[in-house]
């Protein structure tokens, strides 16, 4: 039997994937935009909606970065409001484990799970940068080495809080005057190197027991953390070969935690451009890539790798002769992607060679190396690609990132989803009510603790 595909809708974020200059582009902050995308995702029977988080406006060259979308809402508040206008769609979002405390986050997620009838999901991220920490009481104190330790302790502490109430603790029996089945519902005590807390948790257990846990770590430590604790990985390996390698790697790590391969889903982020024909889609993709990478954006992007001011360079001219500044990135702040370049000197050399071989300008080079969409083609082609990647174990599905707010998912919902449904690889109707049920994950009480 074919594997079932899982699909999620990522609200377009604050990087240059989101095309705000298009006349169809709507508000990035009005609730109506979030409602619109969530309703489309639910109409298409998607597993979940996803909302990212950022806790400091990005800066480059010491100034607030103004070329991409700036500003976004609070994750929890939007997800709770979306619970009012959707019925089955999972509601997931990023919440940072560095600039929060477990008691508060656990009560927010338990509340969201209650208020959504069991649809909450948490993308646990961790950061350590003092730049973001400048917005917080206890900011900037974490050593890089400690970040996964802290995130792991944070998550396990939150689990203790979720588990401190059991199903059935609230009996609310008028006749006997018994509201609680036991006087110590919610009691907890936790002590480790990061958290020393005790008392009574005050939100009764939600329908899912614990929210679904997503993680996005890609390093060895990050993958191990995910294998030990996550229900799904938000990966960045959307192609066949890279996807298969990542998939095999993380699924292979599960056994040592006593977990089966079905207990961790691999969901790469994916962008897409559809067209009436493949050629039409290619042309549209080319236009979108140029919208995403203006000349200025190309220079700014190059600066993130070069780690130096390149504003004097012409985006329609050749790449800089000077080499990147190696070491701490001082040019771009609040941008996780600066950590992904690896060795900047080698990457710069590769980019120069690529530009020379294909006679590319700075802008053309940046378009070439950064902005290519994951899926480009007619609906039939894209449906075929998605299914192929899932059936060949490059992923369990995709977290789709439209480039337009708020209706960037409409065409996919209307044309690709029906084809996947016809193939019997994507649900035609929701079978369950909770996000765990959509993802085929057991309730935590029926799964051995890691």
């Amino acid at each position: 039997m074919s594997k079932q595909i899982h699909l999620a809708a990522h609200f377009p974020g604050v990087n240059n994937t989101t095309v705000w200059s298009d006349p169809r582009s709507g508000s990035q902050i009005e609730f109506a935009s979030f409602e619109r995308l969530a309703r489309t995702a639910e109409r298409a029977k998607f597993d979940f909606f996803f909302l990212a988080e950022g806790l400091r406006l990005r800066e480059q060259n010491g100034l607030i970065y103004d070329l991409d979308v700036v500003g976004r809402p609070d994750t929890f508040t939007v997800l709770a409001a979306l619970a009012a206008v959707t019925d089955r769609l999972g509601l997931t979002g990023t919440i940072n484990s560095t600039f929060n405390e477990p008691y508060e986050v656990a009560r927010q997620f338990a509340s969201l799970d209650q208020l959504s009838g069991g649809r909450a999901g948490w993308n646990v991220v961790t950061s350590w940068d003092a730049f973001t920490g400048e917005n917080f009481r206890r900011g900037g104190f974490l050593r890089q080495d400690d970040r996964y330790t802290r995130a792991e302790r944070f998550l396990r502490t939150a689990w203790e809080l979720f588990d401190s109430w059991r199903d059935g603790d609230v009996v609310a029996d008028r006749a006997s005057g018994t509201f609680l089945s036991r006087p110590d519902a919610g009691a907890f005590a936790h002590r480790d190197a990061h958290f020393d807390i005790a008392g009574r948790f005050n939100v009764p257990r939600g329908p899912q027991g614990r929210p679904v846990i997503l993680q996005a770590g890609d390093s060895d430590k990050g993958r191990e953390f995910a294998a030990a604790t996550a229900d799904a990985i938000f990966s960045r390996h959307g192609t066949l070969e890279a996807g298969q390698a990542f998939y095999a790697d993380v699924k292979g790590r599960l056994a040592r935690y006593g977990r089966t391969r079905e207990e961790l889903l691999v969901l790469p982020a994916a962008t897409f451009v559809l067209g009436d024909t493949d050629a039409d889609a290619q042309e549209r993709a080319r236009v979108v890539r140029r919208q995403q990478v203006s000349g200025q954006t190309a220079i700014r992007h190059l600066e993130q790798l070069w780690n130096r001011d390149l504003s004097a360079y012409d985006p329609d001219g050749p790449l800089p002769e000077v080499d990147p500044v190696v070491g701490e990135n001082t040019i771009a702040k609040g941008r996780a992607s600066t950590r992904m370049f690896g060795d900047p000197l080698r990457t710069a050399r590769q980019w120069r060679e690529l530009a020379a071989a294909n006679k590319l300008t700075i802008r053309e080079l940046v378009i070439e190396v950064t902005a290519r969409q994951t899926f480009i083609g007619s609906a039939a082609t894209v449906a075929e690609s998605i299914n192929d990647l899932v059936q060949r174990d490059a992923s369990d599905g995709f977290i789709l990132v439209p480039h337009l707010v708020p209706d960037g998912l409409d065409e996919f919902a209307d044309t690709v989803v029906p084809l996947l449904q016809q193939r019997g690889v994507f649900r035609a109707e929701y079978q369950g009510t909770t996000l765990r049920e959509h993802l085929g994950l057991a309730h935590p009480d029926r799964r051995p603790a890691a």
Partner: protein, 383 residues
């Protein structure tokens, strides 16, 4: 005469600890969205100014020094900001004022949560600031100790921290000018970064750089509200809040308290209410609730038992003493909530003291508060 303002304070099954045992109570649904949606819609049907939603960073208790072992009262609650957000898309006019605690939490998070609630409700968000002076809530965070017996210095510190906290939140709300988002095709700029502002707050408890990640909320500054019973919190409310809830014991007390708050601060009196067709019935109902609970219910606020008409009389007398409005705490829900919306409200309307329909789109509008200028905005040409 000018109309008075009217809010209800929602908490669990009502403010009496035995309220959940009333035949019409919905105790098994206290942790579901449907329950809260129904309550707020009922309040909206009565054209109330706003609802507040209680919250705390610990379980309810009959003791002041920590959790008790009782299983016969409601224990557990949902996060109030998220309850308000869940209700926002399903209501149109009523203000939504969740409680959020300032003592162990991050001003950056609360600022963006209330700003986002303001977006999700199209300008109907407010905030009830709450200080946690409870030792057993401090142990839930493990970052500081708060003794069970509070000395005056600690009380002063907690309210000083709250003052700084509200200042940070207000600065963050203003850290984007209203027209900061420009989407300028010619220059490729999404925002005019000259209209985004670092707040650079430095105080005893925290430093916050800013700007917020959320653009300025629709109301500019969602109303900040606080409950105050004594001198230190009065001073906090005077300096930090747009609206203060006070707990006078009688009309003279109401007059004395109201005198110390200068406009434009709004002063609401809190009252716990048990309402029935006759005063005897209301009083009897409170007594049987007390009997169920095994104790006579007392409160920081005055407790009223009687008919909606008698309550209207009292409110108009107190209002004449200088109050702007009332926040009523229903003793039992739904009984006393519907007695407010379907009994008291018509009574007040018939005396020309309350609106017949909503006349504004935002909470500030309902309260008669102007949308404030942005503290960081410069007059054109002076930058």
């Amino acid at each position: 005469m000018t109309e008075l303002h009217l809010a209800v304070a929602l908490d669990g099954a009502g403010w009496h600890p035995a309220a959940w045992r009333e035949p019409d109570a919905r105790p098994a649904e206290l942790f579901t969205a449907g329950y809260w949606v129904d309550l707020v819609r009922e309040a909206e049907a009565g054209t109330l100014d706003f609802v507040t939603i209680e919250d705390a960073l610990g379980v309810q208790s009959s003791r002041s020094d920590g959790p008790d072992d009782r299983v016969d009262q409601v224990r557990g609650r949902l996060d109030a900001v998220l309850v308000a957000a869940r209700v926002a898309p399903l209501t149109r006019h009523i203000g939504l004022v969740p409680t959020a605690t300032v003592t162990h939490t991050e001003p950056f998070h609360v600022a963006k949560a209330i700003a986002t609630l303001d977006y999700a409700s199209n300008g109907r968000a407010g905030w009830r600031v709450q200080v946690s002076a409870r030792g057993h809530e401090a142990t839930h965070f493990g970052r500081r100790e708060i003794p069970d017996q509070l000395g005056p210095d600690l009380v002063a510190d907690l309210f000083d921290e709250a003052t700084d906290y509200v200042e940070v939140v207000r600065r963050l709300w203003d850290s984007w000018e209203d027209d900061a988002e420009i989407r300028d095709q010619a220059t490729g700029r999404f925002v005019d970064r000259n209209k985004l502002h670092y707040i650079d707050f430095e105080g005893r408890w925290f430093r916050v750089r800013g700007p917020s990640i959320v653009p300025r909320p629709p109301q500019g500054q969602p109303p900040v509200t606080a409950l105050a019973h004594a001198e230190v919190p009065y001073r906090f409310a005077e300096s930090s809040a747009d609206l203060v809830y006070v707990t006078p014991s009688d009309v003279d007390d109401a007059a004395a308290i109201a005198r110390r708050f200068a406009p434009p601060s709004l002063v609401f009196a809190d009252l716990v209410v048990f309402l029935d067709r006759t005063a005897a019935q209301a009083s009897a109902r409170k007594q049987w609730l007390d009997a169920w609970d095994g104790a006579t219910y007392t409160s920081d606020a005055a407790i009223f038992t009687g008919t909606p008409a008698q309550l209207a009389d009292l409110m108009l007398r107190w209002r004449a003493a200088g109050l702007d409005g009332f926040r009523l705490r229903p003793g039992a829900i739904p009984h006393d909530l519907t007695a407010i919306t379907r009994g008291l409200v018509p009574e007040l309307r018939s005396r020309g003291a309350f609106r017949h329909a909503y006349e504004a789109d935002t909470l500030r509008g309902l309260l008669g508060l102007h949308r404030p200028a942005n503290r960081y905005a410069t007059v054109e040409g002076t930058r």
